[in-house]
Amino acid sequence: MSFDIFLQYLLNGLMLGVIYAIVAVGFTLYFGVLDVIKFSHGDILMVGAFAGLTAYIGIAGTFDSPWLQLLVLVLISLSVAAFLGAVIARYLILPLQKAPPINTLLVTLMLGLALREAVRLFYPNGSNPKPFPRLLPTDGIVLGDFTLRSDSLILLLTGIICIVAVQRLITRSKIGLAIRAVAQDSETARIMGINFRQIVLITFMLGSALAALAGLMNGLYYNEVNFSMGLLLGVIGFSAAVVGGLGNFYGAIVGGFLFAGLQTIGAVLLPAILPDVPSAYKDVFAFTVIIIIMGLKPTGLISEKSSERV
């Protein structure tokens, strides 16, 4: 394999990894703060992407500048998802706080299904894949077999900046301190005067906005969104969060990139080693490796014991 082809694989893997990591960070935030697994996370991602698409259709005739369109699209998409996240936390997660965790898991799983079906049935022509607007510049540089388009680069950088920003928010800001305090020990945090309910709502808003961002990135990268896009992304994000160490911020990032790397390796190596196995088995390969890692390190790669939560 030549160096330029290797670079291309690396870029593809990084792009996928950033999207997965953003989804995984959401899972880890919820689990860190409230010990809940919110299975509707992938569908919030899809709702965010559709909200962005709808916003675009609404404003397409108003502004000419693609950057301005993109700004409006991002703002609306993130706000819709954040609002949805807050509503879910307020009316589904918090009331079930004393219930067994399995109830929360089930409720969010069913909510995800309801959201998915709602988009399929009520969004105009919702069961068909929708072309997503190409708002980012598409020119790029070519080095031999390596093509780097500016839209890929912008998306990659946005993803990385976002992850760093969330990390800074959690480790450096007052809100972050409160989130970490609740994650460590919610009872003590309450005694110290932290508004528990408010922190939970903020965490869910943050996580959902991140999901919407991942949805938009997905749409802008593949130029297509569909009602079931959140299903596999949700499962992959959750697996990435678990394999990294559920509840651990860095673990989620490691897990996201690990999964993307495994998928890329699976797609390239499987057909090369076993000619009868098509690259369609790349997900099977990635999940199998994840299962093996989970068997060897049941608490995840960066387990809670050796690090702080969130």
């Binding site: 394999m1 082809i5 069961s127 068909n128 790029g140 070519v142 797609a267 390239v268």
Partner: protein
């Protein structure tokens, strides 16, 4: 006098009631993907079958009044089996115009055989649907992928291309295309640098496409349907792959061009039969279709659905609304004039379609190759 008047009234009433109840209603079914990624084709087929029924109901010579019962198979085999069972177990339905997706058609043939419901496939191209079993209930009015792949392989090797990679989905449809295309391509001297099986709902193809980029093919052959066709073509562009994109009948839809915009330029597709402009009854078909003001286009396979519905209604007119008798009449279809040309079934009830049309996407439309700027050497493929 009173008795004369009452006799007249009675006669008038009976004659009125006679005209009202003169025609029994006969139900026929239409099954296709009305939702999902290939729904444009499914809806086009549904409208075309509906057109055939409307036309027949306007015909004073028709013995029966027809009603089209439509069902959505979503292009998913499991859903297809459910709706096929529902339709086939309804004894008031006499026959069916069934399936655009090969994977669905393949999984439902057993159901039709078990329930004895005569059906006519209007879009699915997998050869095994008719040739895989000997079910007398199953007919097909369109050609198979064997025909289109033979032409597809000959055509591009004839233009001087030598190196291919194949991407196909891992359903029966995609695997079938891979099998027949590989067979005909190697026979015509083409070289296959790599074959990639992908899942039908896969989102990311960058890993496969990077490998393909390394292999430097002249042509990327894609055996699959519109939604992933759009994704693969988009991601080819993202990675800067300049090869010619050669699809199958599975991407020959307006949705493909709408989804890709300018990127669709120069994509190739092959389809059994000819565009409606060149079909024997094409002009008449499209005029009738437009008259009914359907909001969607008939799409590539609409004329086949129309023909299938008409052949079924002809058989019902001849044999009466009885599944077994209708099946026997359909089995014997030979040299019947239709809008798609003469229809004759072989021993496996497969229409012998000698004609395959080649299409290229040009300026946002599918254009027959011979009429295109590409054939006139004013444009070049893969640019």
């Amino acid at each position: 006098m009173k008795s004369i008047v009452s006799a007249l009234v009675l006669a008038l009433c009976s004659s009125l009631s006679f005209t009202v109840s003169a025609k029994d209603t006969v139900k026929i079914a239409y099954i296709g993907p009305l939702t999902g990624g290939v729904s444009a084709n499914g809806i086009g087929g549904r409208n075309s079958a509906d057109l055939a029924v409307r036309m027949r109901n306007q015909d004073p010579n028709a013995k029966y009044k027809y009603e089209l019962v439509t069902a959505d198979d979503e292009c998913k085999p499991n859903v297809g089996v459910q709706v096929a069972t529902k339709i086939a177990s309804d004894s008031s339905i006499i026959a069916g115009v069934t399936h655009y997706c090969s994977a669905v058609a393949m999984s439902t043939v057993d159901v039709y055989h078990k329930f004895g419901l005569p059906v006519m496939v209007w879009g699915a191209v997998l050869p095994e649907i008719t040739y895989g079993n000997d079910f007398k209930e199953v007919h097909r009015v369109n050609g198979t992928m064997i025909n289109q792949n033979e032409v597809a392989a000959k055509f591009l090797t004839g233009l001087g291309y030598k190196k291919w990679v194949i991407i196909h989905d891992t359903t029966d449809y995609g695997k079938g295309h891979n099998k027949y295309f590989t067979q005909f391509l190697t026979k015509n001297g083409g070289q296959i640098l790599g074959t990639f099986g992908v899942t039908a709902d896969q989102q990311d193809f960058t890993a496969e496409l990077t490998k393909i980029k390394e292999l430097k093919p002249e042509v990327v052959y894609f055996g699959g349907l519109t939604p992933i066709g759009i994704r693969i073509r988009t991601q080819m562009d993202r990675l800067g792959i300049k090869a010619v994109f050669e699809g199958t009948s599975g991407i020959k839809s307006d949705a493909y061009i709408e989804g890709l915009g300018k990127l669709s330029e120069g994509s190739l597709s092959f389809i059994e039969g000819a565009p409606w402009e060149k079909l024997p009854g094409g002009l008449e078909f499209i005029a009738k279709y437009n008259q009914q003001k359907y909001p969607d286009a008939p799409e590539a396979y609409g004329p086949f659905a129309y023909t299938a519905a008409n052949l079924i209604m002809d058989a019902i007119e001849k044999a009466g609304p009885n599944r077994k008798k209708v099946m026997d009449v359909l089995n014997k279809t030979n040299n019947v004039e239709t809008i798609i040309g003469k229809v004759s079934f072989d021993d496996h009830r497969q229409n012998i379609v000698p004609l395959i049309s080649k299409y290229v996407a040009q300026d946002g439309k599918w254009v027959v190759w011979e009429d295109s700027l590409y054939a006139k050497k004013q444009r070049k493929l893969g640019q």
